[in-house]
Amino acid sequence: MVLSASLPAFIASFVPSNKTLAHHPHATLYAGCFSGMCSAELIESMWALSFICLIGTLLYVSSIRLFSGFGGRLGGIAFTSVAIFVLTRQVLM
């Protein structure tokens, strides 16, 4: 689990990003890695994971200046997006 979450982020950190986007592509990818650490019972399809990633990206963009420089912010975004998805699914089902 640790390797599968950290390897893509490590490899992606060497992919250059332009000045406009700065470090944000790498940060969103790392947040996505945390979301992917969900158990198979929570995420049963790629559609569910894609939806979680969409929520996560929206949260990241809307809170770009919020808690800037705080460790665990990306993980917090990942957890919140998973929690929103699970709660929404519980309500709808």
């Binding site: 689990m1 640790v2 390797l3 979450a5 950290s6 390897l7 982020a9 490590f10 950190s13 470090h23 790498h26 940060a27 790392y30 947040a31 945390f34 979301s35 992917g36 650490m37 969900c38 158990s39 019972e41 929570l42 995420i43 979680i52 808690f67 800037s68 420089g69 705080f70 460790g71 665990g72 912010r73 990306l74 993980g75 917090g76 975004i77 990942a78 957890f79 919140t80 997006s81 998973v82 929690a83 699970v86």
Partner: protein, 126 residues
């Protein structure tokens, strides 16, 4: 609280914090690189790889804090709090992606509040 988890948490947070300051590194590269390295070491010495690498991985999120806002004392306190969260909070969030991250975030927030309060108390002291 387990001493081994506390020590690994401190090691992960401090090493990430110091490595992220280096020229060729940023917080993301430092965290991911050290997590891979730690996993390899725990695997080689066959030392409860799954648990210890998970603690280390989570504690690197604490170390991802910006040096501009957080000092080494703050990182150390956050790492201690993270070890507590890992033992008592994370078992309730099993299977949730980002459980380690939210624990790290909470520990950083709590230590930040603690240091702010300490500064306030010091300013009132004669």
């Amino acid at each position: 609280m387990s001493i081994d988890l506390l020590l690994i948490s401190l090691l992960g947070a401090i090493s990430t914090y110091l490595l992220a300051k280096r020229n060729r590194f940023d917080a993301i590269r430092a965290s991911s690189c050290l997590s891979i390295l730690a996993y390899g070491i725990f695997h080689l010495i066959d030392l409860n790889t799954e648990l210890y690498s998970l603690v280390f991985f989570g504690s690197t999120f604490v170390g991802m804090s910006a040096p501009v806002r957080f000092g080494i004392e703050s990182i150390c306190l956050s790492a201690v709090l993270f070890a507590l969260f890992f033992e008592y909070l994370i078992p309730h969030l099993t299977g949730f992606g980002g459980a380690l991250g939210i624990s790290a975030f909470l520990s950083v927030c709590l230590s930040h509040i603690a240091f702010l309060l300490l500064a306030k108390i010091k300013s009132f002291a004669p």
